[in-house]
């Protein structure tokens, strides 16, 4: 029991504390308070010089996987994507080919039925690693990392994926011999890249491949529209097998955009598009590659149709003047007189640097026999032939478009 004198002392202490608190210019800003509906924002931090000290880093590419919604972090590291619907979204972060991160974000529904905003706070983008492997034959084709959606060529049974984030990955391989119409698939191979894998090549060893069979696996994805007037169920889906062409009938999304289709083993390209009435109002993502293996699910995540002006508008969002440096100002939450640095989107596959003998800008044939356009990407005296219709980046900064 506290004696009477002690009670007085305690009361005086409380009074002093209360007075001190009310006299302090105390301000608490909850970062989530300022978020819009379905907004994901955060600040990228990194340690690009490997000094052991991470700090805010700008110029990092941020891509919403399965979309053309690409951003570059501001000098302060700040980035925003808005508005995203409820559900799981995957963000890809990359700087050059050194730093890389895959981050899954769950946007929930608030009590008002609207998607919540999500503040990711500081997002540490660590050093990346590479993953290499061989297949059990010497064919060519593609290797897919289902976690990031990134792909790389398999050339004569050998592949390497650079700029891989640390963490879990799931790889599948598909190979094609166009002259014999033969097709092989292999995997899945799951690995987790730990900190020992950063800046190093992790060898997967030999992935056994087998000739495709009629047995079926599943392709699963969610078709998402960021255009309010376009319902997910109205999104057009095309599924093409690399040798057999488009499937008919094409699968249709459910009301929530979910698509799940059973397919025979093979390599498929999955594309979404708006109905013709809204053709100019949204941008479709590049076709996603799915390797279907019997009894396995190829989960492509979400594929988004994005109004073309949306990424540019989100890119200009700012919180403070420093978000608009150099040169710009932050006015009413948007940068004025500021241009984001030009870097290749984080979803862009890395150019397969080969010794293709071609002249920059001219038509060419890739080492795998595909028609392409000779890019300015070179290793030494040789140029690289970029297959038609594909984009790639050699250094994570410059973007090479196989326009053809």
């Amino acid at each position: 029991m506290v004696a009477g004198g002690h009670r007085v002392v305690a009361a005086v202490g409380l009074w002093i504390a209360a007075t001190a608190l009310t006299s302090c210019p105390y301000s608490f800003t909850n970062p989530v308070d300022g978020l819009g509906v379905g907004q994901i924002s955060g600040r990228t931090v990194a340690d690009p010089l490997a000094t052991g000290q991470a700090s805010p880093v700008g110029g990092i590419s941020v891509s919403l996987k399965g979309s053309t919604f690409d951003q570059v972090t501001h000098d302060t590291g700040y980035f925003t994507l808005i508005p995203l619907p409820a559900g799981e979204h995957t963000l890809l972060f990359r700087q050059g080919t050194n730093l890389s991160l895959v981050r899954h974000v769950e946007v929930g529904l608030g009590p008002n039925g609207q998607p919540d905003g999500v503040s990711l706070g500081d997002v540490l983008v660590p050093f990346a690693g590479s993953v290499a492997g061989t297949t059990s034959d010497y064919n060519s084709g593609v290797v897919v990392d289902e976690t990031s959606g990134l792909t790389a060529d398999v050339s004569s049974g050998r592949f390497r994926l650079d700029a891989m984030s640390l963490g879990d990955h799931l790889f599948k391989v598909g190979e094609v011999n166009t002259s014999t119409a033969g097709e092989w698939v292999g995997g899945p191979v799951g690995i987790s890249l730990g900190s020992d894998a950063q800046a190093a090549v992790t060898e997967l060893g030999v992935i056994p491949v087998h000739e495709v069979t009629p047995s079926t696996g599943t392709v699963r994805f969610r078709a998402v529209s960021l255009l309010p007037a376009l319902a997910p169920s109205d999104i057009l889906v095309t599924v093409s097998e690399v040798l057999r062409g488009p499937l008919a009938p094409a699968p249709a999304p459910a009301a929530d955009g979910q698509v799940e289709v059973a397919l025979a083993e093979g390599i498929y390209l999955v594309a979404i598009a708006p109905p013709s009435a809204q053709a100019g109002e949204v941008s479709a993502p590049p076709a996603a590659t799915a390797v279907v293996i019997a009894g396995q699910v190829a989960d492509l995540g979400s594929l988004y149709l994005v109004p073309p002006g949306l990424p540019a508008a989100a890119q200009l969002l700012c919180q403070v003047a420093a978000d608009c440096l150099p040169g710009g100002t932050c006015s009413a939450g948007s940068c004025l007189n500021w241009s984001p640095p030009a870097v290749a989107p984080a979803r862009t596959p890395l150019c397969q640097l080969r010794l293709d003998y071609c002249g920059a800008g001219q038509a060419c044939t890739t080492a795998d026999g595909l028609a392409g356009q000779c890019s300015a990407v070179s290793t030494g005296p040789y140029q690289t032939c970029v297959p038609c219709g594909t984009d790639c980046t050699a250094d994570g900064i410059d973007l090479y478009v196989g326009g053809c």
Partner: protein, 431 residues
């Protein structure tokens, strides 16, 4: 890392480690509690007293600034292992007992490289503090087990131009190798490493840089070849970074500040002036991006007795600091004397005896310093005995015969390499 008693301090008997006050209770506690708690202590004391206990503190016999330990492999003493104080010519070889000893080192952080041939390697960072008498403490490192050494395979990727021949440096060990496009660093110990590279176009003089690649060689990766993701070269800019280093003199009468420091860029330009040390003895030299070679020499009056430590390479990136650690000036007498320090006759085997802490009639086994690059990692050349072009280096080089591979290797003049950890292949001082 072992922490030692100050030299001359009396080692505490084991029971003294149990602070007497720990068994006392405040006066306000009931007396029966005091008795109850004191009883186990008394029993413990009796148990200890009954034992024929001998406590020999290995740090007790250390001199000020002495660092000693025992190299082991799989727990067994490792004889003939090379031990080098990084940044110096202070090299020695572990005795038959695995024992090694360095004396006298100043207070501060020191890095020791331990290596056995091509197979085992260890890097040790040792902090020497000041004792209460103001002298550097001695440190007994105890048993230091050398894990299997790894190899780092490094390739450089030049996109849209850029020479791909030059130098690759591991900042952690100080190892630097010259070569073309693909490099390997052998004898890499388990732990964290920071790899950087720089190349130079010999025609245009343009310089490219790459990295850093923070690489961790895990214990599970010892003895393996670890392939790094290709390091992408980019054109060096005028952005500046710092070369950080310190010069320390272990020679009586020779002040570290009097050492001659030369810094040359990969394009051959001398960095002038080289700033003097700050009050801590540290030197920070701000330079543009690129590769640099730093050389420390004693003043001419000491040239005959104090060997110059091997020159070291640094790759500078804008906004970065490359830490070369410490360059030591040590006279040959100190190096030889430390090699003869012993604690028993077994340290002087075969053939020698330990008298008053010094091996008599003992010759240390031959071993290449642990700081030497491996000849295998250097570029090959066609004609031993003639001059050759070491890529990325402006220092003249000489093609010398590697007696193990029987191939010519291009070694910068006045430098050396080892094919097997034992033999030293030296290039003459080219004119």
């Amino acid at each position: 890392m072992g922490r030692a008693l100050r030299p001359g301090a009396t080692p505490r008997p084991p029971l003294a480690l149990l602070h007497p006050g720990r068994f006392c209770l405040p006066d306000s506690q009931p007396a029966r509690a005091t008795v109850a708690r004191a009883l186990p202590a008394a029993l413990l004391a009796l148990a200890f007293a009954a034992c024929n206990y001998s406590f020999n503190n290995p740090a007790q016999s250390l001199e000020p600034g002495q660092v000693s330990g025992r190299a082991t492999a799989g727990g067994a003493p490792l004889a003939g292992a090379s031990i080098s104080l990084r940044g110096s010519d202070f090299d020695q070889v572990s005795r038959a007992t695995g024992r090694f000893s360095y004396l006298p080192l100043p207070a501060g952080t020191h890095v020791f490289l331990l290596r056995q041939g091509l197979s085992r390697a260890l890097s040790l960072e040792v902090d020497l503090g000041f004792g209460s008498d103001g002298q550097p403490e001695g440190v007994n490192l105890g048993d230091q087990d050398l894990p299997l050494a790894s190899t780092l395979a490094v390739s450089l990727l030049a996109i849209s131009g850029g020479a791909d021949s030059g130098v690759v440096v591991d900042e952690a060990t100080g190892m630097a190798v010259l070569g073309y496009s693909s490099f390997q660093l052998e004898g890499i110990p388990v732990g964290a490493h920071r790899i950087l590279a720089a190349t130079r176009d010999t025609t245009s003089g343009d310089v490219w840089v790459a990295g850093p690649a923070p690489v961790t060689v895990a214990t599970s990766e010892q003895g393996t070849v670890k392939t790094l993701a290709p390091l992408q070269l980019r054109a060096a800019t005028a952005d500046t970074g710092d070369i950080h280093f310190r010069v320390s003199s272990l020679v009586d009468g020779l002040a570290a500040a009097d050492a001659s420091v030369t810094i040359v860029s990969a394009t051959g330009a001398a960095v002038t002036p080289v700033p003097g040390p700050d009050s801590n003895g540290d030197r920070d030299v701000q330079v543009a991006e690129g590769a640099y070679f730093v050389e420390v020499d004693p003043p001419p009056a000491y040239a005959a007795t104090v060997p110059s430590p091997a020159r070291r390479a640094a790759v500078i990136l804008g906004g970065d600091e490359f830490d070369l650690g410490t360059f030591y000036l040590v006279d040959q007498g100190t190096i030889t004397a430390a090699q003869l320090v012993c604690t028993g006759d077994a340290d002087c085997a075969p053939g020698g005896t330990c008298t008053e802490g010094i091996c008599i009639a003992y010759t240390p086994p031959a071993a290449a310093p642990a700081s030497l690059p491996y000849c295998n990692d250097l570029p090959y050349c066609a004609t031993p005995g003639s001059a050759c072009d070491a890529p990325g280096d402006v220092t003249p080089s000489s093609c010398v015969l590697d007696p193990v591979s029987t191939l010519g290797v291009c070694v910068p003049c006045s430098s050396a390499c080892t094919p097997d950890g034992t033999i030293v292949v030296s290039a003459a001082a080219c004119s």
